[in-house]
């Protein structure tokens, strides 16, 4: 009985933890940004302002869930669900520790890429369905940006795949016992991080929702929990990318044995989440054409060069 229930427990547990982490990140980001910008941030509700999350949630759940009359209703409702579903699906293939995972897929990495490419639809459809020119522009930008950065997100990971000889994430982690991949695959890491920021459209690559130009872009017309899903989806994306950086480049659950593997995993992921927030605090937003040029003219050649060199070295050694 316990055997058949075990996967279900793990699945529900992971879902719970991940969603709550995303919610907590709202608070964490505000606190950290405040810290770096030399102010207090939310500190009134509860200890260290921790209950602020709860307050926000109550507020967002009780708001009127309004659909504009000019919008394309089914698509408008579908759009925010897509991103949350796509990101949560990706968590399924992550091995959190040697014995905590949802599914051990032998094309795990490809599954992640497939899901992240599904995430595009959320933004694009939201932009289109809102029937609003700013939203449409934001949606188009998002489509072009995410399509472009997906290309070398995939390419940057192929170096890791080559070294591990597998798409299976568990095997990738296992092969990092000797050396974490961020040393040989430093360029792959850089490209993956940049692409990850662009995929989650976090600052500085938040062109699709640039408030100053596009009035929040694709989610201008959204309110209530639908907006909340975009919001949570973004934090889930940050968590997902951080978890993948940990898994692919920093040895996943591996670490000295004085801490259990799951703790190592969470610690590493947390570091990268903070890094993402730090980026938001420190970098300005580029122009749209700069973003695209940077992607195609710098990142893509870098990813290709990394791939060729990695392949050459593997051939030479093996």
């Amino acid at each position: 009985m316990i055997q058949s229930i075990h996967p279900l427990i793990i699945t529900i547990g992971i879902l719970f933890v991940v969603v709550n982490t995303a919610a907590l990140l709202i608070w964490l980001e505000r606190r950290l940004l405040a810290l770096w910008q030399d102010r207090y941030g939310p500190n009134r509700v509860g200890p260290f302002g921790l209950l602020q999350v709860l307050a926000d949630m109550i507020k967002i759940f009780t708001k009127e869930d309004w659909v504009p009359p000019f919008a394309d209703k089914p698509v408008f409702i579908l759009a925010p669900a897509v991103i949350v579903v796509a990101v949560l699906m990706s968590f399924a293939v992550i091995p959190f520790s040697p014995d905590i995972w949802v599914v051990d897929l032998n094309i795990g990495l490809l599954f992640f890429l497939a899901m992240s490419s599904m995430g595009v639809y959320s933004v694009v459809l939201a932009g289109w369905a809102s029937n609003n020119k700013y939203s449409l522009l934001g949606g188009m930008r998002a489509a072009a940006q995410m399509l472009s950065y997906e290309v070398f997100m995939g390419l940057s990971l192929m170096g890791v795949v080559m070294m591990a000889g597998s798409f299976n994430l568990r095997e990738i982690v296992e092969t990092q016992k000797g050396m974490w991949f961020f040393i040989p695959q430093i360029f792959g890491l850089v490209v993956f991080m940049v692409a990850g920021i662009a995929e989650t459209h976090r600052l500085p690559f938040d062109l699709p929702e640039a408030e100053s130009e596009l009035v929040a872009g694709y989610h201008s017309e959204y309110s209530g929990m639908k907006f909340g899903m975009f919001f949570v989806g973004e934090y889930l994306g940050v968590t997902l990318i951080s978890a993948f950086i940990t898994t692919l480049f920093f040895g996943g659950w591996l670490g000295p044995s004085f801490l259990p593997p799951i703790v190592w995993f969470i610690l590493k992921t947390f570091v990268f989440i903070c890094f993402f927030i730090l980026l938001r605090a420190s970098l300005p937003r580029p122009r749209y054409d700069q973003l695209m040029a940077y992607g195609w003219k710098v990142m893509l050649p870098l990813a290709l060069a990394n791939l060729i060199v990695t392949g050459g070295i593997i051939l030479a050694i093996g």
Partner: protein
């Protein structure tokens, strides 16, 4: 796996029917995406996980986004749907449906005339095998495909460019 196959087959067929009958382009595209995703599940159930992933990444994730991108660029609104209503009359379906029905009957005859039913075991054929096959047996095909992609790239760039005279007008 059998159940998975039949469910996703049903989803595929229904959503494909929706694709060819919708009036709104974006809705049709969404149904097409659903159809492709279901197709990916079929591939997975048939023991082709690598291709299933590619189907999602490339077909659903890239090609369809291109479609949506173009639809957004053209910004087809309610007027386009109205026009579709005009164009898409049920009686126009009759001829093509008959043609397709004949084709189906022929294909069905050809498929089942072979005799015994072969059962697909669904033993997975992994990415490694596909890759080895691609770069050993079908290397020439890979090269040709890359040339085709290059040609497509150049052609699309050339076609998509605005004429100089048009630019002056606008």
């Amino acid at each position: 796996m059998t159940v998975v196959f039949w469910i996703s087959a049903a989803v595929t067929v229904i959503s494909t029917v929706m694709v060819i009958t919708r009036r709104n382009v974006v809705h049709a595209l969404l149904y097409l995406i659903v159809s492709l995703l279901a197709m990916a599940v079929i591939f997975f159930s048939l023991g082709a996980p690598f291709v299933a992933a590619l189907e999602v990444i490339v077909y659903a994730g890239a090609i369809m986004v291109l479609f949506i991108f173009v639809v957004m660029m053209l910004n087809l609104g309610a007027r386009a749907s109205q026009q579709e209503r005009q164009w898409l009359k049920p009686r126009m379906m009759i001829g093509p449906a008959i043609l397709a029905a004949i084709l189906m009957i022929e294909l069905g005859y050809a498929i089942f005339a072979g005799g015994g039913i072969e059962i697909i075991t669904g033993e997975p054929v992994g990415a490694k095998q596909v890759g080895m096959s691609l770069f050993e047996t079908y290397l020439l095909g890979v090269e040709l495909a890359s040339i085709l992609l290059l040609a497509g790239l150049v052609g699309a760039y050339h076609l998509g460019r605005r004429d100089r005279s048009e630019e002056e007008e606008s």
